[in-house]
Subunit: 129 residues, 2 copies
Amino acid sequence: MKIGEASELSDLPAKTIRYYEDIGLVQSDRLDNGYRDYSKQQIHKLRFIQRSRSLGFTVEQCRTLLSLYDDPDRSSADVRALAENHLEEIEQKIQELAAMRDTLSQLIKSCQGDHRPDCPILNDLAGSK
Amino acid sequence: MKIGEASELSDLPAKTIRYYEDIGLVQSDRLDNGYRDYSKQQIHKLRFIQRSRSLGFTVEQCRTLLSLYDDPDRSSADVRALAENHLEEIEQKIQELAAMRDTLSQLIKSCQGDHRPDCPILNDLAGSK
DNA sequence: ACCTAGCCTTCCACAAACAGGAAGGTTATG
DNA sequence: CATAACCTTCCTGTTTGTGGAAGGCTAGGT
């Protein structure tokens, strides 16, 4: 199976698949003409990565997850620890964004948004109390 | 005032201030020895940028905000539109992260996290239903 | 036989927003 | 006069890809 089909099946752009190969995340076989050739196994890995990335894991975390997946002697505690770590980061990010959201919506509410230059948003950014 | 003090007053690393100058966001005067020299006005701008960045505006948005701030003929509607735009992006990001969080915490909950290799997290990533 | 379309290849450049570090100049102080 | 604490410029690396150039392979149509 060539990269175009692998792309559709894995829901990853061909360019991204080549990139993942570049950084050693997934290998590929080659046809006689030099085209990349993917087995079902490799498509499976690509989908695994796609799913992991969609949950926000970094590429390096995906690398670790893949190696855990490939290791029959893994302990689920390791996987869980990785996931918990990631979850905490996500939750922290949400907190930060929520704080921004709250401040911003306050500011927006207080701004008339008309043709006049007077603007509480700019006043706030400028540090005027 | 030299960059060290400007850094403390603006709560921006000196390195970042130099970077902002590089990309034309804030200028600086120079002393005879070549050191950067900042006026109160310029510190004020740096703080404006710091505050804007802390609310998640991109550097380019900061550039626009600064130019609006400097323009006495601006209309507050323009500022407000920019802020609303940004707010929507933040809210969308929060939605995405919340979805990740929900999925992840479900998966974590379902995983024993012990010495055994059996792991629902990996199973999910692998696409097994 | 030739042309075109649609695949595929490699390689290079760019994105955002800085951080780290090298190599070296300046200034105040002990 | 040496040292510390500033400051300077310049180069590299980070993360995760995307866009494009230049060119090879293959099938189908005329």
